[in-house]
Structure formats: C-alpha cells, structure tokens
C-alpha cells in the first residue's frame, strides 16, 4: 500500500516518526511479534511481512486493514531495517491490527 499525502500529513501531525518528515520515502514500520508457546521468536519492527496464508501467499505492509488469517506451513519473510529474515512456521494464525502484526505459530521450524 503506497503512502498517500493525507496519510503522511496525519502521521506528521500525530508526531509519529520524525524521520519520515525529512525523508518521505523511508518506510514507516510495523510492530511484528512472532510467538510460539515456548518462546518469542521475533519481536521488532518490520516494513513488510510475507505470509504463507492458507489460501495463498500474501504480503502485509504498513497501514494494512485489520485482518485475521490462518497460515499454512511455509516461510514467513520479514523485511526489517537491517535486512531480510525468514522463519518457517508450521501453521498458525496471524492478526493485523493498527500496524501491529501478531503471529501465533505452534512451532517455528527454522529461522
């Protein structure tokens, strides 16, 4: 989802991310948490996450609409400021709400 000017203005006024004002091209990040019953696998900011949805792969970017989806077994690709990371989840669910992405997976096979 591209960043529209109106979005950008609201963001600037609400004081989110001063750096964005200076550099509108830099991506606004989402908070991503990947948790399993045993541990927190990932917690941090990401600019894009790709999921193996049970109905096909999909990508979540900043300001995604609220979503709950089940996941199939497959790779979750996370793009962070420092690079790309991949986790293989063994099924699970993902919830996207107000730039918070929460992945509940029963097992993360490989990081």
């Amino acid at each position: 989802m591209g960043l529209r000017i109106s979005d950008w203005l609201t963001r600037a006024y609400s004081g989110v991310g001063q750096s964005e004002i200076r550099n509108p091209k830099s991506k606004i990040v989402m908070q991503l948490d990947i948790i399993t019953p045993d541990r927190k696998v990932f917690s941090g900011e990401a600019s894009s996450v790709t999921f193996p949805g049970s109905e096909g792969q999909f990508q979540v970017l900043n300001d995604h609409a609220p979503l709950v989806s089940t996941l199939a077994r497959g790779p979750v690709t996370v793009v962070t400021a420092t690079g790309q990371q991949m986790f293989t989840v063994d099924g699970g669910v993902v919830e996207v709400l107000r730039n918070k992405v929460l992945v509940l997976a029963e097992a993360v096979l490989a990081a």
Binding site: P37, P66, L67, S69, T70, V93, L104, E106, A107
Partner: protein, 294 residues
Amino acid sequence: MANLKEVRNRIVSVNSTQQITKAMKMVAAAKLRRAQDAITQMRPYAQKLSEMLGTVSAGAESATDSPYKQARPVQNVLMILVTSDRGLCGAFNTNVAKAAVARINEQYADQARRGTVQVMAIGKKGAEAMARRGFTVNTNHVNTFGNLSFSTVREAAEEAMDGFVKGQYDVVEVVYNEFRNVATQIIRVEQMLPIVSTPAPAGVTANVNYIFEPGEEEIVTELIPKTLKIQLYKAVLESNASEHGARMTAMDKATDNAGELLKELKLIYNRTRQAAITKEILEIVGGAEALSSN
C-alpha cells in the same frame, strides 16, 4: 551405650545425605525458576489465542459446531495424568493418582467396572501408580519432562483429540497439580473434551471490522484444536513447576531433619566419648591407687 566407631559412621552417612538433599533442593530451585519462566513464556500465546478466538467467534454467525464439542453418552473414558518422571517430591505424584482414582470411582464407576476407563500418563510416576492399581496405561508420552517443550505435549494432545474425534473416547479429563506457590500445589481435574462451552465474554464484540481469511468459521475450527493443545500444555507446565516446588519443600524438610538427626548423633557421640574418657581415668586412678597402696 553405642560404640564410638558406630556413631561416627552414622554421623558421616547422615552428613553426606544432608549434602545430597541440600544439593537437590538447590537444583529444584533452579529448575523451578526455569519452569516458571516457561509458564510466563506461554502466557502471551495462550492469552492472544483466546482473545482471537473470542473476536472471531463473535463475528461468526452461527455457533460453529466442532467435532470437539460433540457430547456423547459416556462409554469410554480417557484420564490424562500429569505427574513427574522422578520421585523424591513428597506426596506430589500420589496425590494425582489418588485424585484420579477418586474421580473414576465417583464419576465413572460403571465404565471402570466394564474396563473402559483408559489412562494416559504424562510422567513415569503416574504410569507406575496407575498400573499398580490395575488400569491399562498408555505410556506413549511418559518421558516428557526430560526435554519439555510444546512439541512433545502437542503429540499427546493430538493423540487424545484424534481418539475423541474417532470415538475411541467419549470424554477426556486431565488430572494435574496446579502451581500456586512453592509450598502449595492444588490438584485439578479438568474436562478437556468434549469442550465445555463457556459463554463468550461480553464486551469483546468486534468493534473492528476484520477481514477474515478464509472465513470466520474456518478460522474458528482452526483455532479450537490449538486452544485444546494449549490447555494441555498449560497443565503440563503447571505440573512441572509444581513438581519442582514440591521437591524443593520436600528436600528442605529432609535437610532440616538430617540436621536434627546430626545434632542428636553428635550428642550421643560426645556423651560416649566422655564416658570412655571418664572410664579410662577411673581405671588409671584405680591402677595408681593399687600401686601406691602396695
């Protein structure tokens, strides 16, 4: 009065026993901390999962009927006993076995007479206790605590759930120790299957318009088995923490008792030694007197 050497040997052996119990207590304390950490690690997952189930089922139109909710006339019973693999933890394991037997006697006496009560043991001690009482015990998941993680518990849960869906069991109950604090464990008997439907907590009705992918009902059917597995995992983690708590208190008491015993033994030792010295002096004095009177 006891012989000096005997008392000395006993003191040495009690001393080394005390060292062992002290070490075991310390080990249990360290393991307890880790077990509690595991519980806190699991909590956000469990919480989020039930929250999600709440929001999704609030959105789902019809009450979804899941195969796990099917209540049938009870023919076959599965009791899952969560105990420990090791002993030396007080009445921890006995309590679970006792509670399970009591539950079977009061609720499933008929089934027990027909021999349709089955036991699945998570933890070796529970398997042994129930086998002694003449139950058929499924020991597929006995060694869970060596390397406790969700994946091992998940297998046990899946086996129970499969059995329920296939009609091998009509009711599945879990008996375990709930962790209250280091000194207190509370025995819990929980029905795992069929799911006892709790009314959805009011106020969580979706005020956010979620996109559901693939659909509310599908997500609910996907989430329900997950919550079941988490329910069992929670029971196992609670039991694990309880086990280490129970062992800690048991070993603490044992260390105290050994201390008492040592005190008594030392008293006896000193008395015996004193008596021996007195006797020796008397003998010497007696001997000297006999010499001087000559």
